[in-house]
Structure formats: structure tokens, C-alpha cells
Symmetry: C2
Subunit: 346 residues, 2 copies
DNA sequence: CCGCTTTACTAAATCGGTTTAGCCACAACG
DNA sequence: CGTTGTGGCTAAACCGATTTAGTAAAGCGG
């Protein structure tokens, strides 16, 4: 009771394998009667071409891989990623491509890349010297990067991280804040170096702060999760001089900060202003609604997918200009007050 | 400059293809010196086995497919799905499997199933008579269902939808609500019949309402999104007698209801109680925090993945008992007040 | 009726691996 | 010395499709 192959259909219909293949992929090359007979027999037997055999023979698998920087459970805890997948999905579905999620295989993406039977890759947040990139072009699979550094061989789609970050910091400074803390995105698996995205955002924050002549901000690294954001708040609140404003590089982290601040008896934004980054949908419903930097995540994904598809067709593609980011002011930021309010547990 | 194949490595190292294959998959069968030479040459040439060829030959691709009921952009707008993927991912990563997302191909899952080169499928929310199931066992790919109806051939992992729904309704009734509205999940692609999940939850709500002797609830179908929830509220608010409590089958929809209610000048929970379903992470941070029915989504995914992996090994698996659901009471529900308050726009 | 083009189909090569069966040289054993 | 292993390697079959090159028959103009 094994699988029905093309040979089974061929012999059942009294024709060659070629004829069966033609019936599906090149029907014009068969006569009316034969075509119908073959198709009939195939249907009756429940024949389905073996995808791997097809992929081997046609040199295309009809799927594109998404190189994700960490385990699925880490990455999908951030709605940012869901939105990106939505965009990638839109691009793919236009061309009947499926999406393969490729997380690192015991810590290494290179191994995982080899395993994957795909026609192209979307990579996320890779530093330019990541060894995964070498493997990719050694194998010769077209790749489009997201949130990385564009290069001739590896086009990338990015957003204006620096500009967004600068606007966020300027907003806080403009409200009168001087003691700021920055919560930095963690570096990628096994790396020390921060991701290109984190570096650009940090530069943006710093520029605004320097321009305003405000004191050097406290910067600390925290994971992208509500829990990590809460821990970051705990650390900050132990400082001699608690910051009055927090610039978080991720909405999830910002939400964690707000939640921990709330538990500590602080009021956001009166006692602490918080601004996030990404503008995930949830940012709109939090209490208070989160001031954050919007980036067009879905569009970013869609664009990346389309670029990759072009590349897979052999067409050249150029990295587009960084997509616009905009500051969305909601209610988690205000003028600093109660500057020296001690933290009271309630 | 095409791909390096096993034959290239073989001739460069002066051995047979078999030897090269052994070097990677069966190193014991080669002598020390040969082994090292082959491995060395392979590395030098940057050899990587072709995944499709490997899959064809070994009859396994190392990936499992997730049969998703709608387009990626629809499905991933619901955090429920992200969480499920987290669970599936945990199960997969334990065995170095990757995850292929398989959305319907122009409306039909059957076509998409054939395309996919996978060793097993996880299906979501299929009705027992869905034609996709026929295709699946005709091809003979092991499948585990999620949120469906278990059968001998197609084991399923489910949660206690009815119990959770009943608890939700009882909660509202216990607070004194009598005029309830139910927001039902939409049926799957192209179907009229509601999904098994929706049917079970509806039954649970109805049972509680009937037991309490409360009047027949208003039931209306709405998509799983904040926007759809908001539209549902608009519809409800046009009724002669606005409901005092809303039972939504999805947190996203519930959030939409709350948000629209807020815009209409109603206070949740004083003017309208809302209870959701799923307990996605965002439910905790909404304003007010959402009362909802928690189901162990990540665990559900993890369990489904593990069951599938067992099945792929040829072991028999039984459908487990439905996973427990628990009512999580937060602040979106209270005793009904202001019963006849007109809706004022503000 | 001849030569030439179409039409309808097939045999065999190909994609790039894994695996089975077996060969050969050498050592151990009786 | 003959037999029997055994370690180390290879030739060839196989996985299941697509595709190239080609053949036989039919059609057709002259």
C-alpha cells in the first residue's frame, strides 16, 4: 500500500511515463482521447506527483525559506514577527509559494540552511559578517535580507531606524525629560555585536540626546519580551536617579516596562514616560496606549518577498530606500513630574 | 558555476559517490585516511547535499507542514496562531524538523497539500468531512488534527471548548446578566458549516444560558479580528435592547468590541461586560484587562507536534483527553448596571 | 505516389543523492 | 596451503519525477 507513482499510472493507462507527465504539465502534446484516459486513470488511482521528485527534476521546490535568528518560541512571542510573516505571506501567495520557517539548528543557521529545500531565502537581522551569508551564496540560493546591511550581492529592505529613534528621543526631550534610559535589543545568537537594527536605533537616540545637550543616557540590553522589559524596569529602578523616560527598542519590552512600573506603584506617564518601537497592533490597546515609532512591518515583508521572487526569476534587484518610520504619540508619554518620587510598593 | 554535487566531490577525492555518501552518513564504513580526505575535499569544495535529492532518496524531508485554513495574513493577525506555532516549534526543534506553512492554494487546501514536500501534517480546525482529509490519507502522510473532531485515522488534540464556554457564560449569568450576545467564529473557507470549535463553544454557552433560564441569546457571526469585533458591536448596539454582556469566541473579537464600545461612549465593564476566549498574552494588558477563557495554546501545539512525530515513526497514537480550559476573571466583566442607558456619542 | 511536415507518442537520460550487493586484498585459522 | 572472514571500497540499482531526442504514422501538396 505504498504511494502511487507516475509509472503505476502509465502502465494502468497503457502509455509511457512521459505521456502521464505531459498530461499534467503539457496537455497540448497529447491527443484528446489519450489525455482524457490518462487523466481519468490518474484520478481514479489517486495519483499525486511526489513533491521531492518534482523538486529535484525541475530544480525548484515552490517554497521560500525564512531564516529566523532564534527558536520559534522566542521569535513568535513578538507580534512584530507575525506581522512580518503576514507581509511575506502576501508576497508569496501571489505566486503560489509556501513559506518554510528555518530556525537555527543547535545554534547554527548554517546547518539549517543546507537542510532546507527552498528556492530562495529571506534572512532577518543578520550582521554583514554572519557566516550564514557565505553559505548562502556558496550554495547559490538567492537571498533578500530584512533589517540588515544591504550589499550588492545581498539586497536588503530596511526602515529608517535612526530617524525613528531620533524622533522618539526628541519627543521625550521636547517634553522636558533629561534623565533617559535606553533599552537595547539583544545581539543575535552567539554574537557579541549588536544587530544592525539595534545599532541604527541606538545611534538615532544618541544623536537626539547629544543635540539637546542632555546627559548621557543609561543604556541596557534586554530581550524582546514583556518579561524582559519588566526585568529591565527593575534594574533601572535600582539606580540612584531613576530615569524619567524610557526609550525601548521594541514594543514588547516597552509594555513590560509599563507593566512593571505599574506594579511598582508608578503611574505611566506621570511618573515615567515610555516609548516603544514597531507599533505592533497591541500598542494601541495597552493601558495607557503606547507612544511608539511606527514602521510598516507588513509592507516590509511584502516588499522583501517580491524582491526575492524577482531575484529568483534571475532579474536584478536593488535595495530600496529605507521605509519611512513615524512617531505615533499616544498616552504613555508626558512632561516629567514627580521627579523624585520614591518608589512605593503597594 | 553550478552547484557542487556528490559526484564532483567523489572525483576530486578519487573515490566513488558511495564513499562520499558514507563519509557523511556512515563514517564507520570508511578507513581513517579516506574519511579525512573525503571530508577535507568536500569542505574545500563547499559541498552541500541537495535537499530535494536527499528527500527523494531517503523518503523523508525533515519538515512538517501546517495546514492553515486561510491566507497567512488573515491567520497571523490572530496571536492565537503565533502561540500555536510556538508550541509546534518547540516540538519540532526537539527533533530538528522545520515547519512549512501551507495556506490554501486559490481557495483549496487539497492542491496545496500535494505541492508540499513534508513528512507529516498538522491540520487546523478541519470539519470531519473536509476533503483535505481524504487527500491526506490517500497520499498516506501522517496527520494530527488540532481543534477538530478526533477519529481513529486522524487523531486530534482539542481543548475543553464546551466547558470553557459554559464557565464564561455562567460567570456573566452569575453576575446577573440576562441579555447576552454571542459572537460566533466564522466557518472555514468556502464552508457553511461552522468549525468544530465554534460548535462546541456555542453549545457550552447555550447550555449555561438554558440552565439559568435566561432568554435566548442573540448570536452573530464575526471574523477573528479587532475590526470585525468592532463591527459586531455596531450591529449589536442597533438592537432594540442592547445586550449587557457579550460572549466572544475570540480575544481579538472581544478586544474589538471593547474598543468600539469605548468609542461609543460606553464604559466596560459598567455599561457592557465582555468576555473573550483563548487568553492570548495581549488580553492581560488591554484596558480594562480582559476576562477570558484560557486555553493552553502553546501546550496544545507542542502536544500535537509530539504526537505527529510519534506517528511519523510509525507508532500508534491516541487522541488525548481535551486539555483543560479555565476562566480568567479580570476587569472587563461586572454586575450589569445602567441597563437602559442610551448610547451617547462623545 | 513521393517527399515533407505534423501529430502523437516513447525510450532513455537526467536531476543528485542513498543503499544494496558484491568485489578484492589481506589476515587469521585449521 | 586452502578456507573463511573481514575491512574497505565500488558498481549499479533505486527514489520518482521531467525533458530531450527521436520514431512511427498520418496528413498534405504536387
Amino acid at each position: 500500500m505504498s504511494r502511487v507513482t507516475i509509472a503505476d499510472v502509465a502502465s494502468a493507462a497503457g502509455v509511457s511515463k512521459t505521456a502521464v507527465s505531459f498530461a499534467f504539465n503539457n496537455p497540448d502534446r497529447l491527443g484528446q482521447t489519450t489525455l482524457e484516459r490518462v487523466l481519468g486513470v490518474a484520478h481514479e488511482l489517486g495519483y499525486t506527483p511526489h513533491p521531492a521528485a518534482r523538486a529535484l527534476s525541475m530544480r525548484r521546490s515552490g517554497t521560500i525559506g525564512v531564516l529566523i535568528p532564534q527558536g520559534l518560541s522566542t521569535v513568535f512571542a513578538n507580534p512584530f514577527f507575525s506581522e512580518l510573516i503576514q507581509g511575506l505571506g502576501e508576497g508569496c501567495e501571489e505566486h503560489d509559494l509556501t513559506l518554510l520557517l528555518v530556525p537555527p539548528l543547535d545554534g547554527s543557521l548554517e546547518g539549517a540552511i543546507r537542510q532546507a529545500s527552498v528556492d530562495g531565502f529571506i534572512s532577518l537581522g543578520l550582521t554583514p559578517d554572519d557566516r550564514a551569508l557565505e553559505v548562502l551564496d556558496r550554495i547559490g540560493i538567492p537571498t533578500v535580507q530584512v533589517d540588515s546591511v544591504a550589499s550588492a550581492e545581498h539586497p536588503a529592505v530596511n526602515v529608517d531606524d535612526a530617524g525613528g529613534a531620533e524622533a522618539a528621543a526628541r519627543h521625550l526631550l521636547g517634553l522636558g525629560h533629561r534623565r533617559l534610559a535606553i533599552i537595547v535589543l539583544p545581539p543575535a545568537r552567539g554574537q557579541v555585536q549588536s544587530t544592525p537594527t539595534a545599532a541604527r536605533r541606538l545611534a538615532g537616540y544618541r544623536k537626539a540626546i547629544k543635540d539637546a545637550g542632555a546627559p548621557e543616557p543609561r543604556a541596557l540590553v534586554a530581550g524582546i519580551s514583556v518579561a524582559a522589559g519588566a526585568r529591565a524596569f527593575e534594574t533601572l529602578s535600582k539606580d540612584r536617579q531613576r530615569p524619567t523616560g524610557v526609550l525601548a527598542m521594541s514594543d514588547m519590552t516597552a509594555i513590560g516596562v509599563m507593566s512593571a512600573a505599574h506594579s511598582a506603584g508608578l503611574h505611566v506617564p506621570d511618573d515615567l514616560s515610555v516609548v516603544g518601537f514597531d507599533d505592533v497592533p497591541a500598542a494601541e490597546w495597552t493601558n495607557p496606549p503606547l507612544t511608539t515609532v511606527r514602521q510598516p512591518i507588513v509592507e516590509k515583508g511584502r516588499l522583501a518577498a517580491r524582491m526575492l521572487i524577482q531575484r529568483m526569476r534571475g532579474e536584478a534587484v536593488e535595495s530600496p530606500a529605507p521605509l519611512r518610520t513615524t512617531l505615533v504619540i499616544r498616552n504613555s508619554t508626558s512632561e516629567p513630574t514627580n521627579l523624585d518620587l520614591p518608589i512605593r510598593r503597594r
